[in-house]
């Protein structure tokens, strides 16, 4: 109390107080403005997409195939289903590999090896997506002599691995060690402890982390161009080329037809809505998990 009054009187005498107030207020203004801008950008993008593509966003967009170039109308049903199939494959490939490697990293490996492994995983995370696309092209498309849903799924699956590893590692590491000890003290083996106690304790974080991971690759375009390729019709199967939303956006956006531009905007809106839905769901799971842990 006494010190505070003393400090204030000193400040008053020397005039520090006024300049401090100005710094304080301008800091608040700048940081507030930046925050507003961040939030604003998202709403601007959403609004802009809706403004430009809204007219194409009818039921047809979700149920019909694209019309041949030059004709108006039609939809992107094949691209929506194609994207769904590619993302499903990517999850099936990327999540288990990343999860198991993350379990190894958090529960089994020693410090030095974990450090090296984490470094490698971070490097993999930094590989540009187009490079991953080329690799999938060389490893899957060329030997099979076809573009395919499978190749697209593998490319995106590889892109999911690094984040899946780090998510798993971080969430498992955050599980208190006394839970592991508790299980092992009852005669549980290490594997049993991990899968019956440690993973369940982290399940909310793991699930939402994987969903965010999926949302992150959902919009990837470059690796799909040489793997899934694109298709104006329904894909004939997992080993055949397929349409996908991001590729469709790219192709329609650079086309000379105004109708296709609108469809591209609409597809952009659908893709963003999908990503946002996944994101919000993931956050909800995290906060639910956190509140149940606090109980």
């Amino acid at each position: 109390m006494a010190t505070a009054t003393y400090a204030r009187s000193i400040a008053g005498v020397t005039g520090i107080s006024a300049s401090r107030k100005i710094t304080n207020i301008s800091m608040l203004a700048f940081t507030g403005l930046a925050t507003l801008l961040c939030v604003g950008v998202l709403f601007f993008i959403l609004g802009y997409l809706l403004w430009n593509g809204g007219r194409s966003l009818s039921l047809n967009f979700f149920t019909q195939l694209p019309k041949p170039t030059g004709e108006t109308g039609g939809g992107m049903a094949n691209a929506i289903v194609g994207s769904g199939k590619i993302l499903l494959l990517a999850t099936i490939i990327g999540v288990p590999i990343g999860f198991l490697a993350g379990v190894y990293l958090s529960e089994y490996s020693n410090k030095t090896f974990a450090f090296i492994l984490k470094y490698v995983v971070d490097l993999l995370n930094g590989v540009p997506s187009i490079v991953i696309g080329i690799v999938a092209y060389a490893l899957v498309v060329q030997p099979m002599k076809h573009f395919s849903t499978l190749a697209g799924g593998i490319a995106l699956g590889i892109m999911m691995i690094p984040i899946a590893v780090r998510t798993t590692e971080e969430f498992l590491r955050s599980v208190p060690n006394n839970l592991r000890e508790g299980a092992m003290a009852l005669g549980a083996t290490k594997a049993r402890t991990i899968f019956s106690v440690v993973v369940p304790a982290a399940i909310a974080g793991l699930t939402s982390g994987m969903m965010l991971n999926l949302a992150r690759v959902a919009g990837e375009t470059a690796p799909l161009i040489f793997t899934a390729f694109g298709n104006q019709f329904w894909s004939k199967g997992w080993l055949q080329p397929t349409a996908a939303l991001p590729v469709m956006i790219y192709q329609y956006a650079i086309s000379p037809y105004d109708d296709q531009h609108q469809q591209a905007w609409a597809a952009g809106f659908v893709l963003l809505a999908l990503v946002l839905t996944i994101n919000v769901t993931a956050r909800l799971i995290i906060s639910r998990g956190a509140s149940s842990a606090r109980r």
Binding site: L179, G187, S196
Partner: protein
Amino acid sequence: MATPQQQQLTGEALANPPVPMAHQTSMAVSSKLQANHVNFYYGAFQALKDITMGIRTNKVTAFIGPSGCGKSTFLRTFNRMNETIRNTHVEGELLLDGENLLEMDVTGVRRRVGMVFQKSNPFPKTIFDNVAYGLRVNGMTKRSYVQEMVEKSLQRAALWTEVKDKLNKPASALSGGQQQRLCIARALAIEPEVLLLDEPCSALDPIATLKIEELLFQIKDITTIVIVTHNMQQAARVADQTGFFFMGSLIEFDDTKVIFQNPTKKETEDYVTGRFG
């Protein structure tokens, strides 16, 4: 030149080296657990120094001593929990019912020697599944048996009446004292022969503490109990025998009465009378 008779004498003396007195007496009474010349190392740091101690069947043994003196470390050698910490090693002999427990299957040792930790650590599961966990990991999955054992253990841990209507609620919904009793029930469910407790009451209020002390008396007839405590009164109340540890060594080990009223060593006396530096 030694005569043949002399040679024979020396040979015999070598084959049967004299056994130190302390060692002999501790072997004479029935020891559930026996440590002989145990050293323990965290990396290069020696946390336990040549500890020899016998823990009597169906008695309560307390470990006391200042923080960092190695009580937990010693306790954890009996269920080999220290093995889960990297870069550690143990020397000497550890016997469970006279058998070398370092050579037994580790999960088997832990099934027979249960443990309750300082901080209650219920699993993120229901109350029922927490207690059933030990049964299930040890292959006892028959439903009726699991149900029976869960109820029995919760009763023995004096928790049954409080939780019998919410067995399917998450364990995290219990109070701190209830959670600790749940952890005791969980340990009791697999009917361990020994129960190791590492400061089980340090986070609890006096009433919850009393409940746990009472339940120790209840289970004593079927379980050998070893308890680490910082609370002298608690050691005096519950323990038949008490060991005083200091800087990794066992300074004195005797009947609780002797330790608290008539200790032989000056360090022990200073510690139990609270005159410790």
